[in-house]
Symmetry: C2
Subunit: 146 residues, 2 copies
């Protein structure tokens, strides 16, 4: 989660919503890491999780990551929840909960739906305070600038 937080901080410095993600293999190696790049790439799918999963798949030469774990600093949205399932991620560790846009514990709650054919083990709230502070600070600054 430390690396994911560093990626979130880098995303903040690029003007993106500060979210970072890391994919770790069964052996504990970091396969991929990235932060949000929505504005930079002009791509609404460029969430940290999606970029990290795509990189890890490319590295593994497979469209599935069945023994891999995902660490991310914010509860994944509905889009990323769908992708996490398709990629067969084994365990999901996330930091801050996202009542406004989360797709795991709220809203679409995709992993408990009958249309979800693979759900990872989920551990939320890890390093929640640090990740939440990064996000709060970002949105406070953005509001004061507008």
């Amino acid at each position: 989660m430390q690396i994911a937080l560093e990626e979130a901080e880098s995303a903040r410095q690029r003007g993106e919503v500060p979210v970072g993600a890391v994919i770790v293999s069964a052996k504990g190696d970091v396969l991929a890491q990235d932060g949000n790049r929505i504005l930079e790439l002009k791509d609404p799918s460029a969430h940290a999780e999606l970029l990290a999963i795509r990189k890890a798949c490319h590295k593994s030469d497979s469209e599935r990551l069945p023994d891999c774990d995902l660490y991310v600093t914010l509860e994944p949205c509905t889009m990323c929840a769908g992708l996490i399932s398709f990629a067969r991620i084994r365990r999901l560790y996330f930091a801050a909960y996202d009542p406004k846009g989360g797709g795991i514990e709220q809203g679409a709650a995709f992993f408990v739906r009958s249309t979800c054919h693979h759900a990872p083990e989920v551990y939320g709230g890890i390093e929640e305070i640090r990740a939440g502070a990064l996000l709060k600070d970002f949105f406070l600054k953005r509001r004061s600038e507008n």
Copy 2:
């Protein structure tokens, strides 16, 4: 939807689940079109809708497509439903309903959740029989080969 069906047929010929998608601008121009490329790209996010939206954003030099419509041959999944919302797609036209994996009319039903901050107008069942036949034929053949 005709072009989307042609993209679905091309996807079938590549060995992919036959789904095609097209993004049309407010003026009626085709901005982007693509079919599933999950196996080809070894990318679990490479659904027809996601690839078409990314291409259209790239072409428009924007991470949002507020005046654009999406035509797709299958009810979008939860992942694509999330992306359609983020991209601010105006209208979604889809062909076959997907009781097993759809994220619009079933399962996550993302557009009616409080965590969804933009929902397009939705029109389902257009050219449903043709799109459904393509999919049924594909899965029947795949099962008979295994």
